[in-house]
Subunit: 286 residues, 2 copies
């Protein structure tokens, strides 16, 4: 799915909700546990229940890998069950040296028909580049994350200098005042375009979004952390939206585990429809 198709879906449906399929097998409603593939049965019901109220699904690969081979099977079946009207994101946080990243890109863009994959930036350009080479596919690179550990490195102040040698330049000479995540946004943005690159920006820092929009005004942002992680949808929308919407706001647990009983699908409909209704207001007729 390319950018204009994604924007068209957002305009048609009047929402920018991504439903996160972090399908923890230990949290499934009891009545599903005896089926042949409880994870897939659950996901199928969630997809049926939410597809009219969202534009994207994000499959958190960790919850499938931890079920071994059977989990990968559930992931494949889930992915194939999602209609092409929805952007399909592999939340996999991959990234390695070039020849290895090329294998990950093949995994998520060829072997599995995802539209997008999340990528960790620590290893730099050649770890991201192989993903960007696919047409009509998206690399979603970590910018600022909403977890507590996001502060450990992402908020560090960094110098603009890229010293070549082991000589450590004197930082008192100014031009040094940027945070690591800003540097990551800036530099990664130079490797792709708003047509093939998005960024993960944690919603619990909605006030940072206004600033982030000065660095990357045009890119789509994938915003996790609304719902169970405590971010405010109103603030995210106010500070993060651009002329094409430019936001995919993810809710996982708040939607899929809204009820742990036989009414889980109905509750998922209600919660996702609630987000969609709220989002419609913020879109202001886009």
């Amino acid at each position: 799915m390319n950018r204009s198709q994604l924007v068209a879906q957002i305009k048609t449906k009047q929402n920018y909700l991504c439903v996160g399929l972090d399908t923890d097998i230990t949290k499934l409603p009891k009545h599903l546990k005896d089926s042949a593939d409880p994870v897939f049965e659950f996901n199928k019901a969630i997809i049926d229940a939410t597809k009219d109220h969202c534009v994207s699904y994000k499959i958190n690969t960790a919850f499938y890998e931890s079920q071994g081979l059977k989990g990968w099977e559930s992931m494949e079946k889930t992915l194939h069950y999602i209609s092409d009207t929805h952007l399909k994101i592999a939340d996999a946080k991959r990234g390695d040296i070039g020849n290895t990243s090329a294998q990950y890109a093949k995994t998520f863009f060829e072997v599995l028909p995802f539209d997008a994959v999340t990528i960790a930036p620590y290893m730099g350009e050649d770890s991201v580049r192989p993903f960007l080479e696919y047409e009509n596919k998206w690399s979603i690179v970590l910018g600022l994350t909403s977890n507590a550990g996001g502060n450990d490195f992402q908020q560090l102040l960094v110098s603009n200098a890229y010293p070549e040698s082991n000589m450590i330049p004197n930082l008192t000479q100014g031009n040094t005042e940027k945070r690591l995540y800003e540097k990551v946004l800036e530099k990664v943005a130079s490797w792709g375009t708003p047509e093939n690159l998005m960024f993960v920006v944690g919603a619990t820092r909605a006030s940072d979004l206004e600033h982030i929009r000065t660095i990357i005004p045009d890119h789509f942002l994938l915003v996790p952390g609304v719902g169970a992680q405590g971010g405010s949808l109103e603030e995210v929308s106010k500070y993060g939206m651009n002329k094409d919407c430019g936001l995919l706001v993810n809710a996982s647990r708040a939607v899929i585990f809204a009820s742990s009983d036989t009414d889980f699908a109905q509750k998922a409909t209600e919660v996702s429809a609630g987000y969609a209704t709220e989002m419609k207001q913020y879109l202001q007729g886009l």
Copy 2:
């Protein structure tokens, strides 16, 4: 495998070689391609051919994932084929928010019986912590990587300050002269111990190893990049070794694809035995 067991293996075998099973299916010798599971057949032959000349195997998960379900099956079979005398590393570069990292830890430490997994540090402490909670298992966190993109962020100069607010402090007040990778080594080291934590340090920067040993004198370092990526084993050993050896030097393509013909296993023996012989000298009777 815990640290004393690993050190005992190194002392007994007199080498610290890790063989990287980056088993690219397109590079397999032709005569294996008709077998039911060419990747496993190849790995089995490589393991038989090299096990006396190495102390560890590193499975690069990307090359298995890119073969879909069948690839995960090959990975499982390979893992179970490796004897417990060898440290089994999942080179997976995982890392996510706490509840998701816990799923990855479960994948590699419970569902699959790996001893160690590589982790990307960008998301901070809660992304690493769940891996550290397993007894006799290892987290191998990216410090300094050997790829070209390693320069993009890892070498940035960072401030020691961890500002809480959006106010950007004046960096001219000194105490600012560290690189990101140094900060990562320092901070990550404080989350674990030399008994459950190692670091990836790229071998093409052997001259940096001396400096890195001033920051983390005791930890084991996993050093990729010797062989196909061009690092010097002599330099790595000279600057990286500590009193327990403290090094696992990885060679992947240089060993497993030493020949692309029917003699691939024999050539893998020769190349790994060559590294082992060289390593024995550097160990100087440890």
